[in-house]
Symmetry: C2
Subunit: 98 residues, 2 copies
């Protein structure tokens, strides 16, 4: 699972994410998304739920929180770019943010 | 409490924080510190404990987490710079990080 996404993998796994607001990070093989919630408690609740999955999967986001906004960047250090784990965590975060 | 720190306030409240690793942010009336923990769970536990105090005091950090590292910036939006609330939250975070 932790190998760089192939061209086919990128097409099948990343395209749906781009439709839900994820974007490629400039100059880096990574994806990013900004989530905006109603307030800090909602934002941090999302981070907490995400943290449990991140730890369970041993795959952690780079993220910044300012009040009700959470900016997330996903990439896989071990392979120096995007792996299926990033797509999996991105999908999970979208689900948790609903 | 939410007014810009006076010169005296800066001396009494910020000086001790500078000794514990807080620094002024360049080009902004804000303080910042980087905490490094043993792993993600320790870093996120610190964030969770901080979040409860932040919400209780209605004063929230700007923070970035990458695995075991948490970078924090504190400033008071309402007054456009550092207030006693920032010093209070900084001290609490130092305590929670111990």
């Amino acid at each position: 699972m932790t190998e760089l996404l192939s061209d086919t993998g990128r097409k099948t796994m990343l395209e749906p994410l781009f439709k839900s607001g994820w974007e490629m990070v400039e100059g880096r093989d990574a994806i990013a998304k900004t989530y905006t919630f109603d307030d800090f408690t909602a934002a941090f609740a999302f981070m907490t739920r995400t943290a449990l999955w991140a730890e369970k999967w041993d795959h952690h986001p780079e993220w910044t929180n300012v009040y009700k906004v959470v900016q997330v960047t996903l990439s896989t250090h071990d392979v120096g770019g995007l792996s299926a784990l990033d797509a999996k965590l991105a999908r999970k975060m979208d689900q948790l943010a609903e």
